[in-house]
Amino acid sequence: MSLLSVRDLTVRFGSSAPPVVDGIGFSVPAGGALGIVGESGSGKSMTSLAIMGLLPPGASRTGTVFFDGQELTALSERKMREVRGNRIAMVFQDPLSSLNPYYTVGTQIAEAYRSHRSGVGRRAARQVAIEAMERVHIKEAGRRVDDYPHQFSGGMRQRVMIAMALSTEPELIIADEPTTALDVTVQAQILDLLAEVRRDTGAALILITHDLAVVSEVADNVVVMRHGNVVETGSTEQIFSDPREAYTQALLDAVPRIDDEIASLRSLGGDL
């Protein structure tokens, strides 16, 4: 049985505007890694917010999301809060703006943990934060736990975000463009870290990105999205070696290769 299963999920702003996510469905097995790829405006980020029940004001959601046999879309806000950050954790794109500048990273990691474990004291939570930071390989975690986000580099901040996600031992981590704001060498480190975390904790991963090469390295299965629809779903190998849909083929043709100059990069007719 799959850990997460999304059916006919639709997100729209207002009743007359066309939906930004239009009746999509996919599933993630326990411990699996699903990549959702698409260009800007494909609805990939809205999909993750819809799963978490964190849509911006004015957006409405229909369809069902099942998580571990529970229908998330039918949960009360209070029940949903017990899932958020506890059984499903999120990692966002820009780690600097995603961390509160007024609190130490330790406080922010501990906050996630304490809000889901009753009766955890300040000191115990701090210890959890230090351990989480050690697990994401932040050196001198015992000292850096009291530092503020601005005192970390971009890659280290993203490690803090991942530590925060890890602290509650979630079954699913949704990472929305987790490496887009990072330099390529740092990106490689963060992708390695995510793989290590999955190996160690058995957590499933949904990786949302525009970068096809990143998806090809991380995911077992891929969902290709465009204009709020799922264009194609398949195993990563199938999507990259034998794409069935014209859009997927065109998208792959457009990717610039590092090991090859292509006479003319194929471009999609969407721009003009």
Partner: protein, 276 residues
């Protein structure tokens, strides 16, 4: 003769908040002894990660920033401190395309005003009037010439970047500086703009200084590559040499970090595409 040459460029910035009442601020060296040569019809890519000084280097070469020390030569002439008419000549020869197309286009001007602005500012004759010139420029960058009366907000990101390129081309530059010009674009649009730049260069023969952090993009467009880190060029050479047999450890590390689609999947996909 070398079209554009940079010799030992150095740029220091004052570090904010370190200045005392009688003590000058601490210096941060953004560009540290950088030299390169750009020839007509060629594309030199400056690659590096954030903070490597690649954009600052480009801005120094384009005379958008003043050097702390070093020399910028245009057609063999020293233009490092060019002022007035001399600077105008530099501006006529070197044009820049920026990363974010929308923030570099005035939202209250029509496309016609935008793309002909460099001509008007440089008080150049406009043969056939601004409309005709603007229409010709739009067709050259693959936009509908009838859209000269539109405003930037009416275009998509890729189209806006084409407008930015049209504006740069207006004065017939011999050097085009592209500062992360395709970085903010979706992959399909990015491919279009790369193709456009390659085609335009073939037709016009301008030299292109291409600033990018994306090595795969650089691979598509560059003839030679300079790899920068911490304000210095650590490796420079022909594109295929740098990508195929990187000499410096940093270059190797950078190349190794780039995510790749498995070559066997790529090969299979090509076979399948042919079979279809």
């Amino acid at each position: 003769m070398t079209l554009l040459e940079a010799r030992n460029l150095v740029k220091e910035f004052a570090v904010a908040g370190t200045a005392g009442l009688f003590k000058p601020a601490a210096k941060f060296t953004a560009v540290d002894d950088v030299s390169f040569e750009l020839h007509a019809g060629q594309t030199l890519a400056l690659v590096g990660e954030s903070g490597s000084g690649k954009s600052t280097t480009a801005r120094l070469a384009a005379r958008l920033l003043d050097v702390t020390s070093g020399t910028v030569l245009l057609d063999g002439q020293d233009v490092t401190r060019a002022e007035g008419d001399d600077l105008l000549r530099v501006r006529r020869t070197i044009q820049v395309v920026f990363q974010d197309p929308f923030s570099s286009l005035n939202p209250r001007h029509t496309v016609e005003q935008i793309v002909t602005a460099p001509l008007r500012y440089q008080k150049r004759p406009i043969p056939g009037g601004t409309r005709a010139v603007a229409q010709a420029l739009l067709s050259r960058v693959g936009l509908n010439p009838d859209h000269v009366g539109r405003y930037p907000a009416q275009f998509s990101g890729g189209q806006a970047q084409r407008i930015g390129i049209a504006r740069a081309l207006a004065v017939g530059p011999r050097v085009l500086v592209c500062d992360e010009a395709v970085s903010a674009l979706d992959v399909s649009v990015q491919a279009q703009i790369i193709n456009l730049l390659r085609d335009l260069q073939r037709e016009e023969g301008f030299g292109c200084l291409f600033i990018a952090h994306d090595l795969a993009v650089v691979r598509q467009i560059a003839t030679s590559v300079a790899v920068m880190t911490a304000g210095r060029v650590v490796e420079t050479g022909e594109r295929d040499a740098v990508f195929g047999a990187p000499q410096h450890e940093y270059t190797r590390k950078l190349l190794a970090a780039v995510p790749r689609i498995r070559p066997e999947w790529e090969a299979a996909r090509r076979r399948n595409a042919v079979a279809r």
